[in-house]
Symmetry: C2
Subunit: 600 residues, 2 copies
């Protein structure tokens, strides 16, 4: 705690000072506005600590942000000479840029890794990640999120012994954690994993043999231990969850011998290079690597879903951050760059004044701030789900959207960020190309769009979350209409129509599914995911506009009016697309499914 | 000639053998279909040589394609130790991967650089580029296109002496050429260049002082000379065009002393790394670098537009190739990859059978083949423009679309190509991430989207090309309706409505522009560009469907029916978006222009 507060030196900025005075990495006034001024969707943190941890996070970014491009330039390297070297706990064939460790150490020394233990509201934690992650999409956010999720999973399902041994070193930042799910033949389809776990004579201890693929952070040379949350099949062929440490931990907490697994290589990724991504094999030199059962045999997938839902919020957040950072970087550039002549005055012009540049900036703003609001809403629901069954259902429905909408539309935003800079956008002198590359992974991380859209349309629409969400959106429309405000009321009618369209389309597609034509229902699942997502973001923009109006005593306050204006842009230029999507979805077009493979 | 034909060993493939038997880099049956079977839009080459050069191009790609990933991995490096080293003609601070030279040499030895001198139809040349460029977006296509364009420009406007000295070495591949337009302060706005050219006592010879930025291929260590087509201002402050050689060429053709310019560095790009991109300064050590006036003083921009139009077709083509190659790579993967279970049979499934994977493949197909058709149409019009004023006008209108639509929508296609592969899509084990990164530059190369959309809406719609284009599209609709074919007729009505919408929207926006509200007209220029482009591509798909039907004697012929099916997909899923775009454009929304800078 003390360590954390010690950093809290930066005074909170007034919203009028706006982003021009803040770091280019995050938009603190917008984060504060979302957290504290939108009680209808995000329960405002009332604790005394949130502002201080946000300030600490800002200080952290200001101090270390310059390192992130290095992690991109010098991606994790694999040195086969160290594949079988077990001479020390940290030795590894996976060589990270040495300053990744420096940043991670600073992160845990700042107390950030222990935040989950501080009983802060989840939206506050998300906002902290939104600040720190804006500078370190993968280097910090990746390592920390995985470690935190592993710690949470352990705490929720692990035996007291396992928790006692492994939980604290994960939360104090001494060790890192991973999710080891995918295998070469089983990426999206976890039921097809082939890694086997055989029980030993010691209850809860298993021998694990098999291969894992796509494991982020599976190995590196930065911490003394790495704790894998790993799925494997028990002899009854059921999927179970195991804790697999890099080094065995003795009863006194000291490290024993190295576990029997081998890192066989790293995947070279186009982005998110601040974290390694490995393929590895377990039990090559013995009857199996040592693993400890977490929860019950056969309940691995259910347990893992807890972690995956949390991870999916973080993937959405990571995409939103990339979108927001691209927005800020390109806005800063556009405010300074002079090029060409005004079409009216024929004078030399700063490019921010061109209509098409404004369009590109507004598109980025509505996508990234809408996505950020969605992630904070999901975090707020994750908190309230503990006591409200209804909130749990709403969150359950929203998860595929939280994962997917930001990752598609904030990538689109980054495309426009590059475009604002012209040639500079695609060179390494500016950070845009890295952000764009980092962000491209988010459409695939933690379940592709295809998988998410099947989840939404194939399962979630039939659950109790959908009608509850519709009710909430309708409630907002009602509140908006009651304001009588001549900017808000027309926007409310946009959202009202969009929500009605979503209800109709859902009914129609659900009906097709129930009548047994699953293929036809799923043929347009991607369009449905986008339509549902855009409708939800439209609702959130309406909430933000209402909140901005409620907060603003002075109608000329540009920060707040900027929110209302952005809402209007979203209604007219983005939400309106759902009309087209609805028509298309209701036509139940079967072109895709009747296309023969040889015609593709 | 002989050299070229010498390579023509690969037999033409029957379309039934389809792409599964061909290289993953290009789709020869589709190219053949476009070139030879679509006489309504592309004049079919009747020469005996076209098939042979296409076969040669295929052999070239089959032989050298494996080198392209190396050019991406080992991007051009700048070694300051050689900045002032003029000890030999080829010495350069810009170090290319050594095999770039090998490929370029093979390309010119194969006779490809001399193709322009062979009087081949332009669509045939474009088709050759579509094959060779599919494997070497930048390494070959970049160098060759620039060199060819420089040679054409020289031939069109240069004095007989200059042509005699410089033209042949450019076309036989001994030297390379560049376009040196942009400067740091003048990217999209060439009127603001500050490089100065001062006449000397020798008529036609000038001393040039200034700086250039973003010059592709400005320097490298591969050829004995490099010839820059450079814009500079003459003392009357007018923009003129100059030929600036790396080494001065003596009257006997031998190389004299090095010209006085200095390469100051290379831009590190996220893609297209097979060609360098430099910033450089002229005349640092003297009263100026030597340049030779091409054409008349003050007519530089007009001359350069000739080259730029050609370049813009090539940028569109490069984007289309990236789109097509991504389509083929992801199709191949989808045909082999087993993952998950069928939603109906619950058996293990090859992913190509999933509806959402088919959607991603169809989207890529319609975007990339539509874009390819557009580039071939533009090439055909470039030929016929020599004798037809009407065709010249139509091409003039289409140029901004040819440059822009492929570069936006084939990038979208590449996004889906990555998505089909999941995690493999973003690793360097597969070529998708390189293609995606290469393609991202095309939205900026040769004038950004913003610039193109201003050209289209601010200038082109008022010219004679627009009504002529509309007439042609309407003519196609009429022909389609007359077929009486029950697949073609409904598609014709889609295109008919889209064309009518485009006419209406253009009238409305043009009216606003004429009434003096230029800002309001241009506020939605990007949407207009997209709408016009999508309508044009819709027309081309209809032409392809008509041609496929006309060619097919057997309705089960999957290659040809695949075209009809793709057309249907484009109509329903893409062309239908123009309804929404039209409504939005006709509403003359002014949200963007009324947005204050501080609200962005």
């Amino acid at each position: 705690m003390l360590r954390l507060l010690h950093n809290a030196s930066q005074p909170a900025l007034k919203s009028t000072q706006r982003r021009f005075l803040t770091s280019r990495f995050y938009d603190r006034p917008t984060l504060d506005f979302l957290l504290f001024d939108n009680p209808a969707i995000i329960t405002p943190p009332t604790d005394a600590t949130t502002q201080q941890v946000l300030d600490s996070a800002s200080s952290f970014v200001d101090r270390y942000h310059h390192l992130d491009p290095l992690f991109d330039k010098f991606e994790p390297q694999f040195d086969p000479a160290f594949m079988n070297d077990r001479s020390s706990p940290t030795v590894s064939p996976v060589k990270m840029h040495e300053q990744v460790k420096e940043v991670l150490d600073a992160y845990s020394e700042g107390g950030f890794t222990a935040m989950h233990e501080m009983d802060l509201p989840f939206p506050s934690l998300t906002a902290v990640s939104a600040i720190t992650g804006s500078a370190f999409t993968s280097g910090v956010l990746g390592h920390w999120v995985l470690t935190q999720c592993a710690a949470n999973l352990l705490k929720a399902f692990g035996s007291p012994d396992l928790v006692a041994k492994y939980h604290e070193p994960l939360t104090d930042g001494r060790w890192t954690g991973t999710m080891a799910l995918s295998e070469t033949q089983a990426g999206s389809s976890l039921v097809d994993i082939s890694t086997k776990a055989t029980p030993t004579d010691t209850p809860g201890t298993y021998r694990i043999k098999g291969n894992k693929m796509w494991t982020s952070g599976a190995d590196h040379d930065m911490t003394e231990n790495i704790i894998h949350m790993l799925l494997a099949k028990t002899p009854d062929n059921k999927i179970s969850l195991f804790l697999v440490p890099k080094s065995i931990v003795n009863d006194d907490g000291s490290l024993g011998e190295r576990n029997d697994y081998t890192i066989n290589g790293v995947n070279h990724k186009m982005g998110c290079r601040g974290i390694s991504n490995c393929y590895w094999s377990l039990g090559d030199n013995s009857d199996g690597a040592t693993g400890y059962l977490i929860g019950e045999e056969g309940k691995g997938l259910q347990a893992m879903f807890l972690m995956m839902n949390e991870m999916r919020i973080h993937v959405g957040l990571s995409a939103a951050l990339c979108g927001k950072r691209g927005h800020l970087e390109s806005l800063n550039y556009a405010l300074e760059r002079k090029q060409g002549r005004s079409p009216t005055t024929k004078e030399k012009e700063t490019i921010v004044n061109y209509a098409d540049v404004k369009r590109m900036l507004l598109t980025q703003k509505v996508h990234s701030e809408g996505a950020l609001a969605l992630c904070l809403l999901a975090s707020s629901l994750a908190d309230s789900s503990k006591t409200s069954e209804e909130d749990k259902h709403v969150l359950d429905f929203l998860i595929p959207i939280v994962k997917s909408w930001p990752s598609e539309f904030c990538l689109e935003a980054n495309k426009w960020a590059i475009q604002v800079l012209g040639g500079y956008g695609y060179t390494s002198d500016f950070p845009l190309s890295q952000i764009y590359r980092d962000n491209r992974l988010n459409m695939i991380h933690e379940g592709t769009h295809g998988i998410q859209s099947l989840d939404l349309l194939g399962r979630k629409i039939a659950g109790p979350g959908f009608p509850l969400l519709i009710e909430r959106m309708a409630g907002c429309v009602e509140r908006a209409a009651k304001t009588g405000d001549d900017e808000i009321v027309p926007m409310a009618s946009h959202v009202k129509s969009a929500v009605e369209r979503l209800v109709e389309v859902t009914k129609k597609l659900g009906g097709v599914g129930k009548s047994g034509d699953v293929q036809l229902m799923l043929a347009n699942s991607h369009d449905y995911l986008n339509m549902a997502g855009t409708t939800v973001i439209g609702w959130l923009w309406l909430e933000m506009a209402i909140a901005a109006k409620a907060k603003s005593s002075d109608p000329s306050e540009s920060f707040l009016h900027g929110k209302v204006n952005a809402c209007q842009y979203f209604m007219i230029h983005e939400l309106s697309k759902t009309k087209h999507q609805a028509r298309l979805l209701e036509s139940l077009d079967d072109t895709v499914i009747k296309t023969k493979v040889e015609e593709l």
